[in-house]
């Protein structure tokens, strides 16, 4: 037991009263009472609402996680964790990317040799490269799925308009990352995929020539291009992405994880969703992630009236009254949300590792400007555009369509003024979006799987020309 007199001074500094602080018993507890320990872990594990809240408030994770989150956030199908998975993939890409940077020289004479060296001479070199490549492909996919999910949830509506715009910026940065990274191995695959991609820029009216020059730095892709793409890939884009991500997550924290709003706000689910048959089914469905039981009708009534739970009410020890507890549909982010996130992160890492072990990243012959492979395909996420280009004028298919889609998406929240988030009130928006989505997917599938030399129709069961 610690000395009462001395302890009280310390505990006042911590904002904890002596009777709240656990008694020092045993070696482990004494360690937890040292100044060093308590400077790092400011609050002890206390199984009271107040103790949990103090832990949350004094932790660096408060920048990302609120102390309490609505229960629905714990449900897997609330978001499918897509935004979080994309963030995890980004961090995997940073770590594996730094490892690859140790062994890579952005020079047309050395880059390809470095790639071979990764395969033949460097510990974990090929594995890390595989994981980097698969994570990059998955990140593009997951970011797009995240966008689709947010659209169908209507989660771009007030007050989340600006975060949707930032999200489109993040999509653009992700595509930029993948595209610039594509060139770096300097093999035939990367050289010609990037040639197809950069040729598009030429079709931009008036500024096409200047933009192409800026991007590739010469008459054709060469050393200046490789150096530019490398600089963009390892310096400019990571900074941009970090900046956008900070704003994005901060906005999510402000708009998304907040305690339930009134029925008019975005994401306000009707109370019947919580008490209705759906959540009753949850309670019996053992496979569901959280199997949330139906909540008492009184709570549901309070929720339907737009009642809120004040966070401060949780902190102040005496003010958590029975009535307020009834409307409390929140849980502590630690451990409930954070543990789920850690597990999803581990699952993501395990997935890309498995992919990396199973499938090697391709490495064709060294880039040769004089030898065009047949077919020369763009990276898979641009192959839909390439398919479109084979049917329409390049100015329309290469510039107006993609720019139009991207700009429309970016400003979507500002001209879709419909305040409803339920799909039955958004028939027009949903059908337009779904149509565009289906067209994009079909074009991509045709371009990726059904096109062979000379962009002729070759079904994949005859010969697959898909290169990942």
């Amino acid at each position: 037991m610690i000395d009462q007199e001395a302890a009280s001074g310390e505990q006042i500094r911590d904002g904890l009263e002596p009777d709240v602080y656990p008694v020092a018993e045993g070696r482990w507890q004494r360690l937890k009472h040292t100044d060093a320990w308590r400077s790092m872990f400011r609050h002890p594990q206390l199984d009271t609402p107040r103790g949990r809240a103090l832990q949350g408030f004094s932790n660096v994770f408060l920048h990302v996680y609120p102390v309490k989150v609505p229960r629905r956030v714990l449900r897997l199908r609330y978001s499918w964790r897509l935004g979080f998975i994309a963030t995890v993939l980004f961090w995997i890409l940073v770590v594996t990317g730094v490892y690859l940077m140790f062994f890579y020289t952005p020079s047309v004479t050395a880059a390809y040799g470095d790639m071979q060296q990764l395969r033949t001479g460097i510990g974990f070199g090929q594995l890390i490269r595989n994981v980097h490549r698969w994570s990059a492909h998955l990140m593009v996919l997951v970011v797009v799925l995240h966008l689709v999910r947010v659209f169908f949830a209507g989660a771009y509506k007030k007050p989340r308009e600006f975060n949707w715009v930032i999200g489109i910026g993040l999509l653009a940065v992700t595509l930029g990352f993948s595209f610039t990274g594509y060139l770096l191995p300097w093999d035939q695959l990367s050289y010609w995929a990037v040639t197809v991609g950069t040729n598009l820029v030429n079709y931009v009216p008036i500024f096409g020539g200047i933009l192409t020059d800026l991007l590739i730095g010469g008459p054709q892709i060469g050393q200046p291009t490789l150096q530019r793409f490398y600089a963009l890939h390892v310096a400019v884009l990571p900074l941009l992405l970090a900046l956008f991500l900070m704003v994005h997550i901060w906005r999510v924290r402000k708009d998304g994880f907040a305690v339930r709003r009134g029925a008019a706000g975005a994401f306000a689910e009707g109370a019947n969703e919580l008490v209705g048959s759906e959540s009753a089914a949850d309670a019996t469905d053992a496979t569901d992630a959280t199997d949330e039981p139906a909540i008492p009708a009184a709570t549901a009534l309070a929720l339907a009236n737009g009642d809120r739970v004040r966070l401060l009410g949780v902190v102040d020890r005496e003010s958590v009254t029975a009535e307020e507890r009834l409307t409390d549909d929140t849980v502590f982010a630690w451990p409930h949300l954070i543990v789920r996130h850690v597990v999803v992160a581990l699952g993501t890492i395990a997935t890309v590792l498995a992919l990396g072990v199973a499938f090697a990243a391709p490495l064709r012959d060294i880039a040769n400007p004089n030898l065009t492979p047949e077919p020369a395909k763009a990276p898979w996420y641009f192959v839909g555009l390439q398919e479109l280009l084979s049917h329409f004028d390049p100015l329309i298919a290469g510039i107006f369509v993609p720019a139009g889609v991207l700009l429309t998406l970016a400003f979507l929240p500002y001209f879709d003024k419909n305040p409803h988030t339920e799909s039955k009130y958004r028939k027009v928006a949903i059908s337009v979006f779904a149509t565009i989505l289906v067209i994009a997917v079909v074009l991509t599938v045709i371009g990726a799987l059904f096109r062979g030399p000379g962009w002729k129709f070759v079904p994949p069961w005859q010969h697959s020309y898909l290169e990942m």
Binding site: L74, V339, V343, A350
Partner: protein, 158 residues
Amino acid sequence: MPEKRSGPKLSEPEWLQRSLDRYLAFGLLFMVVLIVAFPLYRLREPTLRSDAKNEQQQNYEKTGGELFSQNCASCHGKQATGGTAPTLNSKQFLSTTSDNQMALIITGGVSGSSMSPWSLDYGGSLTDEQIRQLVTYLRTLEPHAPSIPDWRTGAKAP
């Protein structure tokens, strides 16, 4: 000991704890996968690397031979057996010249001779990769190279 007055106890529904436990079980599973996968891969890796190396070596020998007949054979002779330029397929040349030396000579050429720089960097037509392939090809000749003391003049084997 003072009386405990730490506010209301934390009351979380049991299903919440069960759900958390289920996630933790999955987390454990993923961690086991990761912890097992890395050493397993590490065990297999030397084989993977040496296989890749052999494959690359064969590839290089073949491509190097092709490059040699396209670019070098007119002066150095078919199979590097001599001509107007030094006989590279000779014990004397191959045993006294390192890979790096060979690469440097091909890259930068030899002044005062008709051996021009071959590297793209110096106005030639070969990438560093192709120069490495040439060197690999020449090195494969070493075990059976004949002794030719006059190799510098391009003398043929007797």
